[in-house]
């Protein structure tokens, strides 16, 4: 299970309408449907993932979220989900704004590129990090934007939105302790923000 997934299930309101942007095989939406009786819709650009999604019984639209979400009306969904995708899209701002237009609230899950191990790798080795979380070399990575917890905080503030829940994941107890003390920009590996329009 991907870290923090269970928290998405906790945050999704019972019986709500949920859109997952970049839904992959639709497993999360399927789980949400089975556990929270949500009305799911996936968005996926890759046809083979979309086929898996259909086989999971989840309706899905093939489209490029970078081009906006014109297909959907304002506040059509109760919740929009974007997992590990903000760093991969060409226009994170467009995607962020569109999410909050089509849904009443949004959950963003992202990797924190300001984690101390990444900082250390850059500082000590002078190299872009390659690790379990970031297995790609810089010249062959889907991640085209590098963002930290602090960066997403600023994006939310600048776009007149509010973070209503923050959740962090780190593998070690020490890091988790430090996350709790507010050092999460240094110690969180993964973050989940539940965001609402002001």
């Amino acid at each position: 299970m991907i870290p923090l997934h269970h928290r998405i299930i906790d945050f999704a309101p019972e019986g709500s309408r949920v859109i997952d942007l970049g839904c992959g095989d639709g497993q999360l939406l399927r789980t949400l449907k089975e556990n929270k009786n949500i009305d799911p819709l996936g968005v996926e650009i890759d046809l083979s993932r979309l086929e898996e999604c259909v086989e999971n019984g989840v309706p899905v639209i093939q489209m490029d979220i970078d081009k906006g979400l014109q297909l959907f009306g304002d506040d059509h969904f109760d919740l929009a989900i974007l997992r590990y995708t903000l760093s991969e899209v060409h226009q994170p701002l467009v995607v962020f704004k569109e999410m909050l237009r089509v849904a009443k609230s949004a959950i963003i899950v992202f990797s924190n590129f300001a984690h101390w191990q990444i900082r250390w790798s850059l500082l000590a080795k002078g190299k872009m990090p390659v690790s379990q979380e970031f297995p790609h070399e810089w010249y062959d990575t889907p991640n085209i934007h590098f963002l930290s917890v602090e960066d997403v905080e600023r994006l939310v503030r600048n776009e007149s939105a509010t973070v209503i829940h923050r959740e962090f994941h780190s593998p070690t107890g020490l890091e988790r302790g430090l996350n709790g003390l507010g050092f999460y920009n240094l110690t969180a590996k993964t973050a989940l923000f539940h965001v609402k329009k002001n």
Partner: protein, 372 residues
């Protein structure tokens, strides 16, 4: 009845139906093929709607083994396939206005003892669906598990979803749209004029076993065929090559593409009636889900089914945008919609071809009908 029976039947039905543009048939004939067995609850039926010139033989190999005589969707419909005839009672009927057994211009008019020819009422997609509904009721189907169609068949599937929303659980519309574009209309207009300007057409009163306007029909088919395939596939398949043994002089058949179009149209005229072609082509052109509504959105508000909409990247008759527009209207209704655009060079006719990239269509249809 044995399990998994496949059968073809021609039946007569009381068809108490006023055609959209007026006219009635005292009795309607419908020829259909079925596979599998209807469940006792009558809820496992899947209706396959035919594209412009296909008949009810949707699935099954020909006893002769001739692959050209196999069902036209043999790779999609059958035992263990995406539309699984082991699980579902699959029905495919010949369309109203066609010439393959169901009532149409070649049928005998009981009042005159002569074929109807152009006295047959003008047929619209709404009328085709009305007759299919009559058949479904007759067969004891309570609810359609799904209605599936490509191109003109897709239009029928969409019409089913808005005309009988309570009866259609799932609607699969492939390479289709709420209406044909102006460019599509233009090609069809020329196609019909090829037939009506053939001196043998005689206002539709040609003898059915003699000098019929096959020249006009062949031309209409050639024009149609050009719209069914993409520019790139034509370049790949034929390019500028000359047909074997041709020197490229004179006006007779020389280019490979010319020979291909001619060969296909010659086969086509042996199996199709010119008046029927006019009727069906006009039905396709006039279909417009927006008609009588303030917007497509308004019209699609009648639908209640789950939808699977598939387009093909190189289809210029019904583009991805046409499908997206449909999907958008249905999504705004809050209906569960799946939309996919399959990358292929095969053009509009892609849904009829068992090519490697069309495996996606099989997987989508199969997954949509029977999720894991």
């Amino acid at each position: 009845m044995p399990l998994m029976a496949s059968q073809q039947e021609l039946i007569q039905l009381d068809f108490d139906h006023e055609f959209k543009l007026g006219g009635r048939l005292p009795i309607a004939e419908i020829h259909y093929e079925s596979h599998g067995t209807l469940s006792p609850e009558g809820d496992n039926a899947i209706l396959i709607c035919t594209p412009l010139t296909m008949d009810s033989h949707v699935s099954g190999d020909d006893p002769s083994g001739d692959p050209k005589k196999a069902g036209w969707w043999n790779f999609l419909v059958g035992a263990g396939l995406a539309v699984d005839t082991e699980k579902h009672f699959v029905i495919c009927s010949n369309v109203l206005g066609g010439c393959k057994g169901s009532s149409g211009p070649t049928s005998l008019n009981p009042e005159t003892g002569e074929p109807y020819r152009t006295d047959f009422p003008e047929v619209r997609v709404e009328d085709m669906v009305a007759l299919q509904k009559r058949l479904i009721d007759h067969l004891g189907v309570k609810k359609l598990y799904a209605v599936v169609g490509g191109s003109l068949g897709g239009m029928q599937a969409l019409q089913w979803a808005v005309a009988f929303p309570e009866m259609v659980e799932r609607c699969i519309a492939i390479a289709t749209g709420s209406r044909l574009s102006c460019q599509g209309l233009a090609f069809d207009v020329v196609g019909r004029q090829c037939i009506t300007s053939d001196p043998n057409w005689k206002e539709g009163d040609y003898p059915l076993d003699g000098d019929d306007p096959v020249g006009g029909l062949a031309l209409a088919r050639m024009i149609g065929h050009i719209t069914y395939i993409s520019k790139n596939i034509m370049d790949q398949k034929f390019g500028r090559r000359l047909q074997d043994g041709q020197k490229g002089e004179g006006f007779a058949t020389q280019f490979a593409v010319e020979s291909f179009l001619k060969y296909n149209s010659e086969r086509f005229i042996q199996r199709f009636d010119p008046n029927s072609y006019l009727y069906l082509s006009k039905a396709m052109d006039t279909f417009d889900l927006e008609e009588g509504f303030t917007s497509l959105q308004d019209s699609m508000a009648r639908a209640k089914s789950k939808f699977l909409i598939i387009s093909f990247s190189s289809d210029w008759l019904f583009t991805a945008e046409d499908s997206i527009q449909l999907a958008s209207c249905l999504l705004l209704q809050g209906l569960p919609v799946t939309y996919a655009n399959i990358e292929t060079e095969l053009g509009h006719d892609a849904f009829l071809v068992d090519a490697p990239e069309i495996a996606s269509m099989k997987r989508l249809v199969g997954g949509f009908l029977e999720p894991k």
